[in-house]
Amino acid sequence: MRSTLRRGRAWPLRGFGPALPALVFLFVFMVAPLAVLFLRSVTEPTLGLGNYAELLGDATYGRVLFNTFTVATVVTVVTLALGYPVAWLLVILPSRVARWLFAIILLSMWTNLLARTYGWMVLLQRTGVINRTLMDLGLISEPLPLVNNLAGVTIGMTYIMLPFIILPLHATLSAIDPAIMQAASIAGARPRQIFFRVLLPLSLPGIGAGCLMVFVMALGYYVTPALLGGASTTMLAELIAQQVQSLLNWGLGSAAAFILLTVTLILYAIYVRAIGLGRPQ
């Protein structure tokens, strides 16, 4: 025992050899560019934190940050609300049926993102399938505003994010012994009480992992907000693209990217603190 510990300390890099190519790759193509990006954010156009001050101080940019967090939060909440029952269904369904459901979920995930987003446009726009059907049925007289607003972004992104919350939740839920729920039931707990007092607390690691994944992905999402959102729902990723591509304002774009990265890392740190590295104890 003691000798393995000592050896572990003497050779801290043992076993790193095979990981070296990936580490080199990450360094050259991620760490180094990030460093360059950070330098640009504090040097262009002038040395200092001017870009950050502008982003956090200006009302327009503040609006973008607010939009970003609003969309990410709404999408995360809706995804969790929709995904949790599906993950539970995957656990309790007979395995033959569950395999089919799994295949459908994965298939939707593997379909091209642009194709899916344009698909939603066809469904959601003013003259789209949904509005047309509802009007033909006489349920509405005016087309519902389902696209170029928060609703459109939420619908499109929730759909894309669902697998990312279902998969970690399913892993957590299927690790819970059903006998624990039986024990709660025979002890007198009603189904609601079993859910809130037993199942939900036990699935927190999966909820945390899934929500973190969805929230972080949503924060930096570009394609779907750009296509299904409107001017009022501009998100940070769109701002970055705009600054870098159209305005060639690398300094401000880099600063925005770094704010995004910092928020992500803070959220991750909170998650690791609260729940651990995805291992339910």
């Binding site: 012994d177 006998a179 624990i180 039986q182 024990a183 709660a184 039931s185 025979i186 002890a187 007198g188 707990a189 009603r190 009480q193 007092r197 037993v198 607390p201 036990l202 104890q281």
Partner: protein
Amino acid sequence: MSSTAPVLVSIRDLVKRFGPTTAVDGVSLDVAQGEFLTFLGSSGSGKTTTLFIVAGFEDPTGGDVLIDGRSVLSVAPNKRNIGMVFQRYTLFPHLSVFDNVAFPLAVRRRPRHEIEQAVKETLALVRLEEFAARKPGQLSGGQQQRVALARALVYKPRILLMDEPLAALDKKLREEIQIEIRRIHRELGVTILYVTHDQEEALRLSDRIAVFSHGRVVQVGSGADLYERPADAFVAGFIGNSNFLPARVRGVDAERTAVELPNGAVVAGRTDSALASGGEASLMIRPEKLFLVNGRDAPDANYDCRVDVTLRDSTYLGDSLQREVVTPWGQCLMVRQTGDAEALSHAGTGAALTLCWHSGDARVFRKTAGSSAPRS
């Protein structure tokens, strides 16, 4: 348990099919109030399924379960007011020991002071007061099952179901907790339905034992009933050790059934079932009811059955001497001698001896498929 205690749980003609397989095949049992009844059987015998139907986790295909004379089949498990301890560890891992035991009262929305009082008392009952603040993961398996027992008892259910709660524990710990369970049963007078595949555990704990085989109850009775008067070869083989001798029925009278052994010797045994003369049968006799004498010694008048055998092996077990002898037809039998085992200890392997027993200690069973197989 006295037969005057009123029936609390009544299981009637219970049938449970899973697709083409029949797990429970017409089980009927009455459990008296305060009784400790054990379902004993090997895995797949239907004992756990029967228990789960009583708990409400499975719906029967047919039959009924009555508690206090009322059918509970339409009552959800959480409304049956039954306590249960499971084979696997089912404590809530996110709650402390205290909160685990408090859970049944918390979901019943009992006032806080009442909960605290009841949890303290129940933890004291299983001798785990000082562990109240721990999480289940910090307890040993035996402690976890005692907490599970406390959680099942804290709301004072009249019926406690236990599904092999000690199966995952080692032998010494198991015996310790068996003693605790007996004490708790005595102190609380709760009616217990206990499932196990361990005949020793069943004998140690139960007032009565129901022996399960292939979805049916083969026999119900006290440990002594099952050991001394097994209903058939299966029960005889399942409870304790037995020797089964192939036999042919020669004559039947009120007291004894005479059978012919393969070497032509005619011996006798008791029987409950009617046997046809000339039919194939099986003579069962316990190892401790067999005696070995030297061929030259005067026959003991008590032992009216005799067979010549050859000694194959002797094993000294401290409190007894276990001998293996071979019959003229090549069958190996077990003999356990206690007391003056010294008398024959000089007899070496290969010695010619006479095996004798009293016909009242032997039982004759109808020949059934695999009747000589069980040996546990």
